[in-house]
Amino acid sequence: MADRAPHPDTLELRERWGSFAWTPANAEEAKKIVARYPEGRQRSAVMPLLFLAQYQVGAETNTQGWLPIPVIEFVARELDMPVIRVLEVATFYTMYNIAPVGRFHVQVCGTTPCMLRGSDDLLAACKKRGMAKGHTTDDGLWTLTEVECMGNCASAPMVQINDANYEDLTPERLDHVLDELAAGRFPKEGTQDPARHTVEPVGEPTNLAAMMTENHDYRGEW
């Protein structure tokens, strides 16, 4: 978190991204997004537009996508708002990458439930493959970030890679996922536990068991 900083605004960056504009499809999409908000409140569209821009940069660079300063300025112009306000949003939310990332952005959740279920091992597995926190590997394939809770605590530990969540991970399962991705295949999203379908209880239900068959009123037993 603390070492997050916008990628330096250099002449090369300006040259590469200074002429950024929506692709025809994204221009259509942006119009739709802006139309969701009432007249005079178009600035509210800043978050979806930034995300759209990040996707477009990703498509152009074959990475997850990020937000160079000229692209942030482009979004500010689109919405007619001061660029510092857009930069504030882009730096506040970690879902916006403000520095270049690799083809796959591996976001390992390190918050308490995941940590208790072994996220440290996942980070170690990532490191073994040459990744380092906050850095992109030399082949441009992986960027590793440790993030806070992604809301998958019931199937902890989890990793988010670009738009997909991979849950119930062990170092071996993570290795498998990463191998598949590196090979250009897309492994199944969600839980990686073969015994589990989604986030249903593992094995027998341990609580609210009486609810399994019929609607049960627990209130008298509290």
């Binding site: 997050r4 300063i69 001061p82 506040f92």
Partner: protein
């Protein structure tokens, strides 16, 4: 009008008041960092916690809580004391203990409040957060590790200045205040964030490590950098003015000050005239006062003597010159140096009649030939407020970057005669319409056309002229105006011209005259002069100034003039002796008494009354409007001598990249 009980005492508070304001009304001190009367409520420092019943059983931030009927508020309970200590402890966790090397020391809210409301010691032994410095330009020095994230500076630049350039990046503990890409804060009011900053994160760069507040002599003064007459306090040590700070005056400057007014003070010690000079064979040579007086006497002017007042002189100086000339039998007085010649028979027609505070309430404003942001930054703040309340603004003149939505109607002054339909309609329908004629407008002769606009309503006079010179209204009240302007004086071919700090005059028109420059800076006027008599700057003499709305204000003497320089009136008094005439005063008090007996309004602090507006004349406005100010930071001799202002001009206006001086 809800009734609330504060610490057992029941008081009635105005509708819409917050609990914090209610507590203030009851005379209770509520500590705060982020709350500021003139900014929106942020509620993020949590220092203003109080106990409020009914409500949740925990302390509440009083700045963001509306006062409601029947509330019982406690500011003295154990809960409140503990809450304040807790908040203080959190704020200090990441605040460095560098008060001894911090320029805010001695006038720091955090310092004061931690003494008053904090715990005695710390329990924190971890590493503190450190934040990289942010460049904010030549005026603002940053030590961002000290920042407590109150966001006052962000809110000021967004709400008051109208220039969105400061923001809070990142989140939580990592939050950092910065300008966009660390560009310099480049607007005319940027340095006000230094006053707003409750800690030492934003301090004054030119004043860095100069002095401690308690060793400074504080003198109440008036800003002369423009015609707004902002109320300032000059902080001086020994013979040097170290800084100027705004004083609160809601009628004039609220609590802001333009960067020029604040930072031109270092010019008071540079390029000063501290000796008498006489031009001999084309070269200025140092001389004595007696030589100079003898040389002036040799010119034998008789009644052929004129006085031209500069932009920053006080009424006393002008009156002394007027009396001297009167005793010699001359009335060749002029203050409009650049040759303007608008009629001054009725001063209401050249006054800011709506008052500065009143323009905030206008709902349709037509600006004719005024680059308000540069000519009067503090008026621009008022205009922005008016627009926020729904006013429409139209501008006749070349485009300038407004801080509010405004429609530009073209450069041609003649537009005023045939305003577009929607403009006339907006002015006609407005309850409080206003027109502001600037210096460029006066030069293009729009005065009559503007007077013909109907901007008067019951109890409202929306006819305004915005001057740029601090001495203008005072000069006009004292009769420093010829019918044909300075051209009349040139036509009279006076033997002697007294230039009272007049630096903007085209001196080639006085080639045959003996030019005596009485002023404080070796600027354009001194370059053209035959004899230079060193005088006092605004910080070095008691003086009366009248701002553009006709508000009479007094400034006090902060320091002594350097070297041989004397207060202007004493020089003119001595000249009277040299000429062998009597002026009827031997002290400043006598001079002031005589001046007030002639122009009684100058004796009363406050708005002078100029009566009703005259009927519009028939002068036609014509020609393209051209703003007189080319460089905001270098408009008067003091600013031109100021290193800080020169640097601002080079860096902020001309885009020069200046390396930071090594400390």
């Amino acid at each position: 009008m809800p009734k609330v009980t504060i610490d057992g005492e029941q008081i009635e508070v105005p509708d819409g008041a917050t609990v914090l304001q209610a507590c203030e009304l009851a005379g209770k001190e509520i500590p705060r960092f982020c709350y500021h009367e003139r900014l929106s409520i942020a509620g993020n420092c949590r220092m203003c916690l109080v106990e409020v019943k009914p409500g949740p059983p925990k302390p509440q931030a009083s700045c963001a809580l509306p006062a409601a009927e029947g509330q019982e508020i406690r500011t003295d309970s154990q809960m409140v004391k503990l809450a304040r200590e807790g908040v203080m402890e959190f704020l200090l966790i990441n605040h460095p203990l560098d008060c001894p090397i911090c320029d805010q020391g001695g006038e720091c809210d955090l310092q004061d409040q931690s003494v008053a409301y904090g715990r005695g010691g710390t329990r924190y032994y971890e590493n503190k957060r450190a934040v990289t410095e942010k460049y904010m330009g030549p005026l603002i020095k940053t030590v961002m590790t000290r920042c407590i994230h109150c966001t006052r500076c962000v809110r000021f630049s967004e709400e008051i200045a109208g220039v969105d350039e400061i923001g809070a990046l990142y989140r939580g503990e990592s939050m950092q205040i910065t300008t966009y890409l660390e560009k310099a804060a480049a607007h005319e009011l940027s340095a006000n964030v230094i006053d707003l900053c409750p800690v030492g994160a934003l301090t004054s760069r030119p004043y860095a490590f100069e002095a401690r507040p308690w060793e400074l002599k504080k003198t109440l003064s008036i800003d002369v950098s423009d015609a707004v007459g902002a109320n300032i306090r000059l902080d001086s040590r020994g013979r040097e003015v170290l800084r100027a700070l705004p004083r609160i005056n809601d009628d004039v400057n609220e609590e802001w000050l333009s960067d020029k007014g604040r930072y031109m003070v270092d010019g008071l010690t540079r390029r000063r005239l501290d000796k008498v000079w006489i031009r001999k064979g084309g070269k200025l040579q140092a001389a004595t006062w007696l030589d100079a007086f003898a040389a002036i006497k040799r010119a034998k002017p008789g009644a052929s003597i004129a006085a031209i007042a500069g932009d920053v002189v006080d009424c006393e100086t002008m009156f002394a010159a007027k009396t001297l000339l009167g005793a010699m039998g001359s009335t060749l007085l002029e203050g409009r140096q650049t040759g303007m010649s608008y009629p001054t028979g009725n001063l209401a027609a050249v006054n800011f009649n709506s008052t500065l505070a009143g323009i905030e309430t206008a709902d349709a404003i037509l600006i004719v030939g005024s680059h308000v942001r540069w000519e009067a930054p503090l008026v621009n703040v008022r205009l922005r407020k008016a627009v926020k309340r729904g006013a429409k603004v139209f501008v006749v003149g070349p485009h300038w970057e407004t801080t509010f939505p405004a429609e530009f109607l073209g450069d041609d002054a003649a537009v005023v005669h045939e305003l577009p339909g929607h403009v006339t309609e907006a002015l006609a329908k407005a309850e409080r319409p206003a027109v502001i004629v600037g210096g460029a407008g006066l030069a293009a002769g729009v005065l009559d056309a503007a007077l013909a606009l109907d901007v008067q309503r019951d109890g409202w006079n929306g006819f305004n002229v915005l001057h740029m010179a601090a001495s203008r209204m005072g000069g006009l009240m004292l009769g420093f105006a010829q019918k044909g302007g300075i051209a009349d004086i040139a036509r009279a071919e006076p033997k002697v011209v007294l230039a009272l700090g007049a630096d903007e005059v085209d001196w080639s028109q006085f080639a045959g005259s003996l030019k005596v420059y009485i002023g404080h800076h070796g600027d354009k006027g001194a370059h053209a002069a035959d004899i230079i008599l060193p005088a006092a700057a605004y910080s070095e003499k008691d003086g009366t100034y009248v701002n553009t709305e006709g508000r009479v204000q007094f400034a006090e003497k902060a320091v002594f003039a350097p070297g041989d320089a004397r207060e202007d009136w004493t020089i003119l008094r001595a000249l009277a002796d040299a000429f062998g005439v009597r002026v009827g005063f031997d002290s400043l008090a006598e001079l002031q008494a005589k001046m007030i007996s002639e122009v009684p309004a100058l004796g009363v602090e406050g708005l002078a009354s100029y009566g009703k507006l005259p009927k519009a004349g028939k002068t036609k406005a014509k020609g393209a409007i051209r703003y007189p100010i080319q460089d905001f930071y270098l408009t008067n001799p003091i600013a031109r001598a100021s290193v800080v202002m020169q640097r601002c001009s080079a860096e902020l206006l001309h885009g020069e990249d200046l390396a930071e001086a090594a400390e």
